[in-house]
């Protein structure tokens, strides 16, 4: 029992001190009727057999023979080797939540830096000499629950109940929002209004104006994803203008924070709360979890923000240090009146996200975004020039886009899978479907990033053309 150090002699000595006759006697106060009374039927494995068993399970999964084109909320970027190597330092991954700051300054400072990076990415630029315009928390579970929490926060801030979800938002995010809203009050599903997208893939502004005209003063938040589920960049500025007219807050969600290397940050365009998923830049995809829920908002809203916050302070000798702060918002103090019930968040993945952003730095982050955009534009041009293929929405995209093909997307993808190519996500995939998209059965979501060489992109275009009827 390599993790359990007790020898027979240890046990005997300890039982003696305790004054108990046996280990079993330590459980004798549990009513007999509640005792299990038989062994748990799980066979143990020694380390070598364990690795072998897990290796076999792993080998039953299929990986593509070239970088995959799967996106739909997770673009698996190349994450520098240094990130995971640093994460494997015991002081990072076997550390506890930093409630005792004197022995947790590593984690606390790292989170403070992470908060700074996310605020910088999502918000308006910090101006020297002025207070911070945007703040981020220490992370929440993932992008979808972050979006749900943002909506609940907007409702608390405005005292209003309605939420307007605009354009093509990731079905998992909408699903999560439904789940949370159904919980929070009797309005349930009726609290969520949707506005579709226009031919450019962006929000249908006419429909939105009409809706706001009808019930604008009951709207707590207008919600949009950018780039959206079809990869299209949204006009956040116009949305903020519309929202301001009715006193609603704007929540922007993103599944590709890299976009803001070349695209204006939602906070700088007027968004009140910006949330997103950081897994693509932080770690290997790992079947979509654990990821990291990015969460930032205008500074004036901080007291309604869920999740942990790290703040700067000094110690008794005047030296700079960091502590968890504004904890009175949280469950362990406010209990039933807390801003959220969140306790454990996604600390280690947030750290990974921060380390990657530091490695990229100002210029690297922008350059990586440029590379992603360029490669996606190249493939988009190639695919849209294939006979019978077209782009179903015309709006400008970043590194993911939808393409409508000559035949069934599901069939094409299955055929390419046999060649070791993961061509993209068909828009009617169970669990990932966006049926509102015209010709959804022939439409594929294709994600491109820096890992794809020009040859890879050419190969995909040729292959998709080949397998379509």
């Amino acid at each position: 029992m390599r993790y359990i150090p007790h020898t027979d002699a240890d046990v005997a000595a300890m039982l003696k001190v305790v004054g108990a006759p046996s280990v079993e006697s330590l459980f004798s106060h549990i009513p007999e009727s509640l005792r299990l009374g038989k062994p748990l039927e799980i066979d143990p494995l020694d380390e070598a057999a364990l690795i072998s068993h897990l290796g076999e399970l792993g080998a039953k999964n299929v990986r593509p023979t070239m970088p995959s084109f799967l996106g739909a909320g997770l673009s698996s970027h190349h994450v520098p080797v240094a990130v995971d190597m640093l994460l494997q330092r015991a002081e990072w991954y076997t550390a506890y939540t930093p409630y005792q700051p004197e022995v947790s300054q590593g984690t606390l400072q790292a989170v403070f830096e992470y908060q700074t990076l996310v605020a910088e990415l999502f918000g308006p630029k910090a101006v020297p000499g002025l207070p911070a315009p945007f703040v981020s928390n220490a992370s929440v579970y993932d992008g979808a629950s972050a979006m749900a929490e943002a909506v609940l926060m907007a409702r608390r801030l405005t005292g209003r109940s309605l939420v307007v979800a605009c354009g093509a938002i990731h079905p998992h995010y909408v699903g999560t929002l439904h789940c949370y809203l159904d919980g929070i009050d009797d309005m349930g599903k009726s609290a969520l209004k949707t506005v579709g997208f226009g031919p450019d893939g962006r929000i249908d502004q006419t429909a939105l104006s009409k809706l706001l005209g009808e019930c604008g003063d009951a709207v707590a938040a207008i919600l949009v994803q950018s780039p959206n589920y079809l990869g299209v960049l949204q006009d956040v500025a116009s949305l903020c203008a519309s929202a301001q007219k009715v006193g609603a807050l704007v929540v922007v969600a993103t599944t590709e924070p890299l976009a803001f290397g070349v695209v204006k940050s939602p906070g700088s365009l007027g968004a009140d709360i910006v949330v997103g998923e950081g897994i693509g830049l932080a770690s290997a995809p790992s079947l979509g979890g654990p990821g990291v829920g990015l969460f930032a908002a205008r500074t004036e809203h901080v007291r309604q923000m869920p999740g942990r916050l790290v703040g700067e302070t000094v110690d008794q000798q005047g030296r700079r240090g960091y502590v968890l702060t504004l904890a009175t918002r949280e469950q362990h103090i406010r209990r039933e009146k807390a801003t959220s019930n969140i306790c454990t968040n996604q600390g280690l993945i947030a750290l990974a996200f921060a380390i990657h952003l530091c490695l990229l730095g100002k210029n690297g982050f922008r350059r990586l975004a440029e590379i992603n955009l360029a490669k996606a534009e190249y493939l988009k041009a190639r695919l849209s020039s294939v006979r019978g293929f077209r782009l179903p929405v015309a709006g400008q995209t970043f590194n993911e886009f939808a393409v409508t093909m000559r035949g069934s997307a599901e069939k094409a993808v299955a055929l390419l899978r046999e060649r070791g190519i993961f061509a993209g996500v068909p828009l009617l995939s169970p669990g990932f479907a966006l049926p509102e998209c015209p010709d959804a059965d022939r439409t594929l979501l294709v994600a491109v990033n820096e890992r794809h060489s020009r040859e890879d992109l050419d190969r995909l275009a040729l292959a998709l053309d080949e397998v379509c009827p």
């Binding site: 359990i4 007790h6 330590l26 106060h29 009513p31 009727s33 509640l34 066979d43 143990p44 494995l45 690795i51 897990l54 999964n61 990986r63 799967l70 520098p80 494997q88 990072w92 076997t94 506890y96 939540t97 022995v103 947790s104 300054q105 590593g106 400072q109 830096e113 700074t116 630029k125 910090a126 703040v135 629950s145 998992h172 789940c179 159904d182 009797d186 803001f260 290397g261 070349v262 204006k264 995809p285 079947l287 979509g288 979890g289 654990p290 703040g311 302070t313 000094v314 008794q316 030296r319 362990h332 807390a338 306790c343 968040n345 600390g347 100002k362 210029n363 590379i371 820096e450 020009r454």
Partner: protein, 501 residues
């Protein structure tokens, strides 16, 4: 080396003071390796128009060397399980096996994309299926969802399922009984479900009594949604009347939710699903060794009895005709609480641990966890009396009551002074029903020697409290920083680094 035998441990390491990374670097420096572009550059301004960001985000400009040194140096300011014991009650900070880290990183798991076709994910789905079977065997529930990202997320899920269950029968009861000893996530989860907390006073032992539950139920007939219970309680004591209490709730039309944070006391001994509990979350980052990571990620699977199965989050993992598949066809499901399927990387780690230990190993873990806690209690009880005479399980709760009577030292000071002895403090000031509480949970991965040193340290500190209280009240003095000004942090929040003029 821990030298509680000799006194507080002196700091002998090289600890570099490390400024925020934004204060380092040089213009133009970069630490990542980017490919050269093999397709045409995109004229950004014309393609993005008004959306074009002229000024990239102000990230630091540092080399890989700078970044590596920064995060390596920073890490050395942290305490960690691989450095020493965290006797944190209710957190089960047991050792994080290294083989788990290897397995989670196997490309066969790590490289999987959640939108891959199910036919390419058979190994992953099989792992999830097998983990569910193991957790069912351990907990005694009919099914287990692996979707929630943490314990609190599991609580949310559990209460949502309970609400859906009532709704399916055309009912909407509101009241959720919450013992006053409950963890804060419990009442917070209630609020997120448009339900109302009905506090139930626990005995001086922090235990629920059948009478108090009956009385609470009687005041709100036909309005009892659920009871949320922790077993063992947050005082580390077994809720002996749990079966009867569950019956009372069931008779009143309610369901029972168990916070499974203390499951480490029950493995192989009691299966909560067989004690009247209808739903329970399991903290994989507690009982099943997935690493805490400085604040997550965690994972909070929820086990449910048969009647709650229709409401499980969607999709579930099914096994039919030798094929594993995701079942989205669940009309009564509460839906989903997050994107994708769960914290898969943590599921892999937990499964690896469970398979290494096996049923007998897990049972032994519980036995030694309880032995360790009662051993510490025996060593410490004259100076740190337990708050209850009842037998402790995997954790023992004491307080500063005795010490405060005889000295000017309180729990906070004890906690800080323990750092000078090389230990992380226990959980303090929780549960709220015990003023000045100290909750000590060593876990089974600590040896007798470590426990002896820890007890010796606490006893020496009690002695210091009498003879030289200033040593305790001004602790810690051996850490890199002294006590931090939390008031200043709250009054004038500085939540990000700011560039100066």
């Amino acid at each position: 080396m821990n030298s509680a035998k000799h006194g507080p441990c002196p700091t002998r390491h090289l600890l570099h003071a490390e400024e925020p990374i934004f204060e380092m670097g040089a213009t133009g420096r970069m630490g990542a390796s980017l490919p050269t572009l093999d397709v045409p550059e995109v004229p950004l301004k014309s393609v993005l128009g008004e959306l074009h960001r002229d000024d990239p985000p102000a990230l630091p400009e540092v080399s890989e060397v700078d970044v590596t040194r920064h995060f390596t140096r920073l890490s050395r300011w942290n305490f960690a399980i691989d450095i020493g014991m965290y006797p944190l009650g209710s957190c089960t900070m047991k050792y994080n096996p290294k083989v788990n880290e290897l397995v989670a990183r196997m490309p066969g798991f790590a490289a999987l994309h959640p939108a891959q076709a199910e036919s390419t994910l058979q190994g992953a789905l099989e792992l999830m299926y097998r983990l569910e079977q193991c957790l069912r065997e351990i907990s005694g529930f009919a099914r287990v969802t692996l979707q929630p990202a943490a314990g609190a997320h599991g609580e949310l899920c559990g209460l949502m399922m309970i609400r859906a269950y009532h709704q399916s029968r055309g009912l909407s009861p509101r009241k959720v009984l919450i013992p006053d000893s409950a963890h804060g996530t419990n009442p917070a989860s209630v609020t997120l479900n448009q339900m109302e907390c009905l506090p139930v006073k626990t005995s001086s032992d922090g235990l629920l009594s059948v009478e108090s539950v009956r009385a609470a139920v009687a005041q709100h007939p036909s309005n009892i949604a659920a009871l949320m219970v922790t077993n063992p309680s947050t005082l580390g004591l077994f809720e002996e009347h749990i079966a009867e209490i569950s019956s009372v709730i069931h008779e009143a039309g309610g369901l029972v939710y168990m916070d499974g944070a203390n499951l480490n006391a029950l493995l192989g001994k009691v299966r909560p699903g067989e004690t009247g509990i209808d739903a329970m979350h399991i903290n994989l980052h507690k009982t099943f060794t997935t690493p805490h990571g400085g604040g997550g990620p965690g994972s909070g699977p929820v086990g449910v009895v048969e009647k709650l199965v229709p409401f499980l989050p969607s999709p579930t993992v099914e096994h039919e005709n030798s094929v594993f598949r995701l079942d989205y066809n669940r009309p009564q499901s509460i839906g989903r609480l997050r994107s994708f399927f769960g914290n898969f990387g943590m599921l892999v780690r937990a499964y690896t641990y469970i398979r290494e230990m096996g049923g007998a190993g897990l049972t032994r873990a519980t036995e030694m966890a309880v032995l360790n806690a009662v051993y510490l209690r025996a060593l410490l009880q004259h100076e740190y009396p337990p708050v209850s005479e009842k037998p402790s399980m995997h954790e023992y709760v004491t307080s500063d009551k005795k010490l405060k009577k005889e000295t000017s030292v309180q729990t906070l000071d004890l906690a800080k002074r323990l750092m000078d002895y090389g230990f992380h403090p226990p959980t303090v000031y929780f549960p709220l029903v015990v003023p000045g509480a100290l909750m000590i949970e060593p876990t089974e991965t600590e040896s007798k020697e470590t426990l002896d040193e820890f007890a010796s340290a606490l006893l020496q500190i009690a002695d210091e409290a009498r003879r030289e209280p200033e040593l305790v009240k001004h602790a810690p003095s051996h850490t890199a920083l002294r006590r931090l000004d939390e008031t200043k942090a709250a009054r004038h929040p500085r939540l990000r680094w700011l560039p100066s003029l």
